[in-house]
């Protein structure tokens, strides 16, 4: 595992909708922390809670779901189903002593380069604060 102190975020993004937004952020040289890693999936409603829990178990501090929202080519229920995944994962996180705020979800369309960078930057700040608080209480 990398030794840098910066929190690490795993992003689940979707091949058709939010991947292009994240790529566009790179193309436009809109910088965000390098400890943000992306795994692409066809649709955000296929993300399994066990994958998210695996990420925490292995050392990620936060997981960000870049959901398709109403733009999902598989149907409009995608957002609702992804929300259910987040809710059920929150319970698993509580059971493991993790804070629900370590899992975020936001709808990103293919042109949302700027919103992606804003979401990730603000999530990173939250995680830094959490990390600092955790260290202070030790």
């Amino acid at each position: 595992m990398a030794t840098n102190a910066q929190p690490r975020i795993l992003v689940f993004s979707t091949e058709k909708i939010s991947d292009p937004a994240i790529d566009l952020a790179g193309l436009l040289k809109k910088h965000y922390p390098f400890t943000v890693y992306t795994i692409s999936v066809p649709c955000s409603s296929c993300i399994k809670p066990r994958w998210i829990m695996r990420a925490y178990e292995k050392g990620f501090d936060g997981v960000f779901i870049a959901a398709d929202g109403t733009d999902c080519s598989y149907g409009e229920s995608c957002g609702e189903k992804t929300s259910h995944i987040v809710t059920s994962t929150h319970q698993l996180m509580r059971d493991k002593g993790l804070k629900p705020s370590q899992l975020k979800m936001a709808a990103l369309c293919s042109v949302c380069a700027e919103p992606f960078v804003k979401h990730i930057t603000s999530f990173m700040k939250e995680l830094e604060k959490l990390k600092y608080e955790a260290l202070s209480t030790k």
Partner: protein
């Protein structure tokens, strides 16, 4: 089973290697399990690199390959082709994006970019190790295209598509067709009027029964995906449902409007834009008169709203305006007597055949003065006279001043605002705020939205010839996908492990496509995927309480091995 994986790390010229230390990446992944062959390449997509990969796969009998280069949106078809040519299943190839998501995103932190690239490549290797051979699924497609915008580009796309046998719905927001060009006078190089060009294309449209033109119309709804979009078009008071396979977006540009005070625009009444000047000289008259004053001496100031400095948004060259200004200056001189043309420019860009125009203008006695961005021409009033001052690069930076009756600001193109269309189609825009293609040279009319193609000046500034060329390219691309009547889709089908299935209703409820059916397994009723209905969304997979459903190419083994690799 242990796999033999070939890994290729691309420099992308310097796009990746300027920020990511390729040797460090290679060194860090060389001992990863299953890595049998590891190479770096200047351009992985070049013909020679592709040939090398094919040879490697065959010679080393590789089971999988990983290409660490650019976005999957750009080169997945390229490297799947490489795999197929070498006899390797294309789904045993994994693309890793270390350009858009590493070198470019973190060009401010090269060490971090390298660290991230290492982990991304490791994750790609882990995924490849778990990859399976898959077969794409086929879906029927609709050979119909919606062309958005009936300017000259949109009309040309529509004609080309119709002639190739595609049903075309040509959707124009305005009441008439032809866009900006329909309002222009004489055009170089064809020497016809803009309205004649627009009318001739319109006549061709009328001759083709497979083109349906909607004016005063807008796209109001879009559902579905490439090959099968359901759209709604509002034309006047009527809303029409249509079924199409693709879009060609050809919505054109907006002319740059100088900000108030820019070269005294809006302050001095004899400062006008190039489009205004073109209208003025197209007006029948024996003498050139503007606001009651006879015009004899005209100063053209180039690159207004284009090639702007750091504070401006428009860094690009608008490509057509040098030619348009010179063309207008030749016309004004041939139409009216005793005209003097003074061209204050930043280097004339009349490329190709347009250079002949520049030569003609010079032979006509037009005067060219060149300025740089840090010393732009100054305009001031002295009594009734308008004076233009410039430091002319062509006379060793000497400060020259001249009187002018009319100042023509040679304005360029800016992206047309069209929020409704952008919201419907979600086409990304580039740094110049024009719609963005996947790759300027390799995939110049495709967007990251499958089935949405772009052409003409909605994509970037272009002259008429370039607009028509790109319009035909977009038409050819759309037709090539739709004309076969079917297309391949990713084989990302859900897969049920019957031994783990308890047949609850969760997956049936989650699936929107009736792709889950019941079957018998060892005397028990279990769920099974109807592959002809499965769309590969994976919505059924997280709801299974026994985790009996996996999605092909996104299996637990693949995703979790990637997560593990990213945290090594």
């Amino acid at each position: 089973m242990k796999k033999k994986i070939g890994v290729y790390v691309c420099h992308c010229g310097g796009n990746i290697s300027d920020y990511v230390d390729i040797e460090k990446v290679k060194d860090a992944v060389k001992d990863e399990a299953n890595v049998y062959l590891l190479k770096n390449t200047l351009f992985a997509c070049s013909d020679s690199s592709q040939k090398g990969m094919v040879d490697d796969i065959k010679t080393s009998e590789l089971d999988a390959i990983v290409v660490a280069s650019c976005s999957p949106k750009l080169h997945v078809p390229t490297f799947r082709g490489v795999a197929a040519r070498a006899g390797l299943n294309p789904y045993n190839y994994v693309q890793v994006n270390i350009r858009e998501q590493s070198s470019w995103a973190h060009s401010d932190q090269p060490t971090g970019a390298t660290e991230k690239a290492i982990l991304l490549v490791k994750a790609g290797i882990a995924r490849a190790a778990e990859s399976q051979a898959l077969t794409p699924i086929k879906i029927p497609t609709t050979n119909a295209t919606a062309v958005i915008g009936a300017g000259i580009g949109g009309m040309r796309s529509a004609i080309a598509l119709a002639d190739m046998g595609t049903e075309v719905y040509l959707i124009e927001k305005e009441m008439s067709v032809g866009g900006h060009v329909a309002n222009w006078g004489n055009l170089f190089t064809a020497n016809i009027n803009g309205n004649e060009l627009a009318a001739s294309l319109h006549n061709e449209i009328k001759k083709r029964p497979n083109i349906k033109l909607f004016t005063n119309a807008e796209l109001t709804e879009k559902k579905g995906s490439i090959g099968n979009f359901d759209i709604k078009v509002k034309s006047g008071n009527e809303t029409l449902p249509l079924h199409i396979g693709a879009f060609v977006v050809n919505t054109g540009f907006a002319p740059y409007e100088p900000v108030s005070g820019e070269y005294h625009f809006g302050e001095y009444d004899n400062v006008i834009t190039l489009p205004e000047f073109k209208k003025l000289i197209d007006t029948p008259a024996s003498e050139l008169v503007y606001k009651g004053k006879t015009i004899k001496k005209i100063a053209y100031i180039y690159c207004v709203g284009s090639r702007q400095d750091e504070e401006g948004d428009n860094k690009y060259c608008s490509r057509y305006c040098c030619t348009a200004a010179i063309h207008s200056s030749i016309q004004v001189k041939s139409k009216f007597k005793n005209i003097t043309n003074l061209h204050f420019n930043r280097g004339i860009r009349t490329y190709g055949k347009q250079e002949l125009h520049y030569e003609e203008s010079s032979k006509n006695g037009d005067i060219y003065l060149q300025f740089s961005l840090d010393s732009i021409p100054q305009i001031e009033k002295k009594g009734n006279k308008t004076i233009v001052k410039v430091k002319d690069i062509l006379t060793a930076g000497k400060e020259l001043e001249t009187e002018a009756d009319l100042i023509v600001l040679v304005t360029g193109m800016v992206p047309r605002k069209n929020e409704n269309l952008t919201n419907q189609l979600k086409i990304p825009v580039g740094r110049d705020n024009f719609f963005n293609e996947i790759h300027m040279k390799l995939r110049p009319v495709e967007t990251v939205i499958d089935g949405v193609f772009i052409a003409g000046t909605c994509q970037s500034p272009k002259n008429i010839l370039e607009t028509l060329n790109s319009s035909m390219a977009a038409a050819a691309k759309a037709n090539s996908i739709l004309t076969k009547g079917e297309m391949s889709l990713e084989p990302t089908l859900a897969m049920v492990n019957p031994a783990a299935c308890n047949l609850c209703d969760n997956c049936f409820e989650a699936c929107q496509f009736d792709a889950i059916v019941q079957t018998e397994y060892e005397g028990r009723k279990v769920a099974k995927i109807n592959v002809s209905n499965c769309k590969g969304c994976g919505m059924c997979t997280p709801v299974c309480p026994t985790d009996a459903i996996d999605l092909a190419d996104f299996t637990n083994a693949q995703i979790e091995s990637m997560i593990d690799a990213l945290t090594e």
